[in-house]
Amino acid sequence: MREVTPRSWPAFVVIGIVLLYAFVMLIVPFATVIYSALRDGLQAVVDTFTDANLQHALLVTLVLTVIAVSVNALFGLITAWVLVRQRFRGRKLFDLLVDVPFVFATPIAGFAVLILFGREGWFSPTFVPIVFAYPAIVLVKIFVALPFVTREVQPVLESLSPEPEDAAYTIGANRWTTFRRVLLPEIWTALLYGIVLTFARTVGEFGAVSVVGGALEGYTESATTFIFRALKDRNDTAAYSVSLLLCALSVIILLVMSRLRTRIAHRA
């Protein structure tokens, strides 16, 4: 389709409607949260972040997110490769499974972990606590963002012939070298895009994390559960400040996404 400069009045009306809708839906809410956080001055925001519980919550969020994203990056990549390059019974079914987290309500994901590992769960652990502790949070974080890496890498792999990989392997390159020298240069933008989406989804997860016990102050509490508690306690400035921090993070995520998309578009 060719891009044109709008001339007729219906064109202007349509553009106006679209921009107004985006303004009301996206821009106003985004701007309001910034305004609300800074209304009492920057000092109030800064003071919020001196709270030791909040600092702990942010650290927990970061560390657990990095673990979950690493697991999904590694296994998501392997899964994409296996689904594209191998043929086996049940492949279609496994391919379908990848999309499940997209439609799986996150509190239900947390509920599944409770049923398995909770106090009266099927495999109630005796030595290592899972529920109301870090392992359960990592589990649900892995689950909610599982599809992204696989779904970004898969189409790129499909568009690549397996021949260079086969050739490299045949002339004696080992699997790791083949991956690093032949495959990675072709797929890294898609892989990175998938990782950024995974990060965005994982860092802001709330429903599942809250259900599996991610709200113990100074222990399992993370950024989102902190906001939820602050709202309940009517500690508005704290809630808005952390919301502002997560918004700032999402702006960075958006910019990275856009850079990567341009690269992907240029390649295609």
């Binding site: 599944a112 599982l146 958006l254």
Partner: protein, 289 residues
């Protein structure tokens, strides 16, 4: 040129590596990952539901609070899908067809809902359209319309969360469209409206349906933004996910079990149903799919 590369990629895709390297180790890793993290949770929820027994399952499911919550989820998601589909298609069209200042920035902002945590989306919307704001007070006084802590707020939150879905599925199809069809229609005297309805829309239909269904399925399971904006009032603003969350928090495991299994069943039915419909359509359908 395009045809040739398409032909080549068709020839390639579906091709399988000839060298049996990494067959078992990597396959085992991938399948274990999918089974452990996806098949197990799905089975746990359904097995747990079945373990209740039909009678107790039905008793929990037919509680007015449960039925009401599931109904509210479906109705708000449907309203959201209708609005989002129309506005999403229009937005994608404007983005591809017209040149206007600030377009690159606009294209960047469309993905905001992918990048912002859903809980924060709820906070934003309460702050922007709550009763204490200018917009919220205006709607309340003039139209007696409560947005926040009421059903319209839930639709608003779902619209925010679903904003990119239709746009991002329709946009690439529009970009890939050959301009000459449109020009031909124009040359033989079709108005822009006729061109859109008769030429552009039919080519877009599969992408529009896909985007609409994706956003619908996503909305049924949405939680973070809804729990904030709905105010969680039983029988009035409690959606299925918020209801399930509340039951778990209160230790009402039987109710949570039945509602979880039911909601998942509906979500899967929608997704799989859509998939089947689309495949049948596309079997004899347009080349733009």
């Amino acid at each position: 040129m395009t045809d040739l590369s398409l032909e080549l990629s068709r020839g390639r895709s579906g091709e399988v590596s000839q060298v049996p390297y990494g067959t078992w180790g990597l396959r085992l890793a991938a399948l274990t990952y999918l089974v452990a993290f996806i098949a197990v949770p799905v089975m746990v929820i359904f097995t747990n539901g079945l373990a209740l027994g039909i009678e107790r399952f039905m008793t929990s499911l037919t509680r007015p609070e449960t039925l009401n919550a599931i109904q509210l989820s479906i109705v708000t998601s449907l309203i959201m899908t209708v609005i989002n589909t129309v506005m999403g298609t229009l937005t994608a069209y404007v983005l591809v067809a017209y040149r206007f200042p600030g377009k690159r920035l606009f294209n960047l902002l469309i993905d905001i809902p992918f990048a912002v945590p859903t809980l924060v989306i709820g906070v934003m919307l309460v702050l922007a359209y709550g009763p204490q704001t200018i917009a919220g007070a205006f709607l309340n006084d003039t139209f007696d319309l409560r947005v926040v802590f009421a059903a319209p707020g839930i639709v608003l939150a779902l619209l925010f969360v679903g904003y990119p879905f239709v746009i991002r599925t329709v946009q690439p199809v529009l970009l890939a469209m050959e301009p000459n069809q449109e020009e031909a229609a124009h040359t033989i005297g079709a108005s822009p409206w006729t061109t859109f309805v008769r030429v552009i829309f039919p080519a877009l239909r599969p992408a529009i349906i896909t985007g609409a269904l994706l956003s619908f399925a996503r909305s049924l399971g949405e939680f973070g933004s809804v729990v904030i904006i709905s105010g969680n009032i039983p029988m009035r603003t409690q959606t299925a996910t918020v209801y399930i969350y509340t039951q778990i928090e209160e230790g009402n495991i039987q109710a949570a079990t039945a509602a979880s299994a039911a909601l998942l069943f509906v979500s899967f039915a929608v997704t799989i149903g859509v998939d089947l419909v689309l495949k049948r359509r596309l079997a004899g359908g347009s080349p733009h799919a």
